[in-house]
Amino acid sequence: MIGFLLDGLIAAGLVGLAYQAVTSRSLFRGIIHFVVFGLTMALAWARVGAPDLAMAEAAIGAGLTGALMLVAYRRLVEDRRDAPVDPGPAKSRLALPIAIGSGLLVGVIGLSALFSDVEPGQAGQAVLADLQQVDLGNPITGVLLLYRGIDTLLEVAVLLTAFLAARALAGSESGTGSPTTQGPETPMVGALLAVVIPLTVLVSVHLLRAGSYEPGGAFQAGAVLAGAGVLLILSGRIAAAETAGLLVRMGLLAGLVSFILIGLTPLLHGGPLLALPGLWAVYFIETAMMVSIAITLVLLFAGGGGLKRGKHG
């Protein structure tokens, strides 16, 4: 009963926050509502029994998306102080009927899927039965790397492509507007970093290692590591550079390249593409992907092509 009440509260909160995010008066409020919406989504994932998704949502969906939106907002505001940033909502007579219709459509699809008599989740049962033989306790990591390897490979490629496209759009003149704090340094930030950065690295390594037998994995670990990078950028320890050094380039490509190389090797002795040769390959690819995901996300936040020592570094 209390669980159902909690679920109702979370569901109502999601809807209210989403409405606030798209209609609130100022854009800044919208961003804050969107970030809280992401955190509430993480709670919802935890409630439906998907802790992997809860962690990914909290780190990527709420944390990094919110940080990226705040950086973009700041670039909009400081570019032209006097310009009107937000024209406010448009008037549309069709909006409400279309919204209600599409909501009904999704509701009918979802409820009919939920209450249909079809035996649910045969693929999931097959995965769980299959993974008993491999020493991989987390079925989601198993699905991501053993059964849907091509999707995961392309996902890393999409992330890299998004970074390259954003980099190409930014042009050369805007590489300097990095989101560093201004003003004199305070000793408290240093104290915070001294505790939080090692702890963040520890947590992300734990998440990576845990990903093979309990909730966690390369994406969550990479996002947490990227959070440490965002903190370092905000405190001016590292800053965006025009071009990437060799180490950053290698880090950017590590996940994609190692996945492709290991995925291609089975072809040499007549096996199928992306049939990973063993658990070590899973661990290796996950580690490389964690590094790549973290560096890509940090560079997207920094808005530059590479990283260098910041003014407080």
């Binding site: 809807v15 919802a44 998306t65 570019d79 909501g103 049962q125 994995g217 994406f219």
Partner: protein, 104 residues
């Protein structure tokens, strides 16, 4: 009705809110919120409607959604870069043609 049904209903309402926001909002960042909210609604639907396997939600849709979350943040980052560039070029972050006549 159980909790999963509740989340499916919430997903339906969220999708409606997302569509409404996408139509109504002028600012591109708000349209991005709306698109992300629609995406999240579909994610909830995928996981909640797939039904549990051995007590936990089906791992296959969970893996799909995990991929989806990362793709969503990639697309959002790219869209934000597009928006900032549009603002630098034109001085506004909307696609509206309200003050230039009705050609859009």
């Amino acid at each position: 009705m159980d909790s999963l049904g509740l989340y499916v209903l919430a997903a339906a309402v969220l999708f409606g809110v997302g569509v409404y926001g996408l139509i109504v909002s002028e600012h591109l960042m708000r349209k991005l919120f709306a698109i992300n909210i629609m995406g999240n609604a579909i994610f909830i639907l995928l996981v909640a409607a797939s039904g549990p396997v051995e007590g936990a939600p089906d791992p296959v849709p969970q893996a799909l959604v995990l991929t989806g979350i990362v793709i969503a943040v990639s697309a959002t980052a790219f869209a934000l870069a597009l928006m900032v560039r549009l603002y630098q070029e034109t001085g506004q972050a909307t696609l509206s043609s309200r003050d230039e006549g009705d050609d859009g």
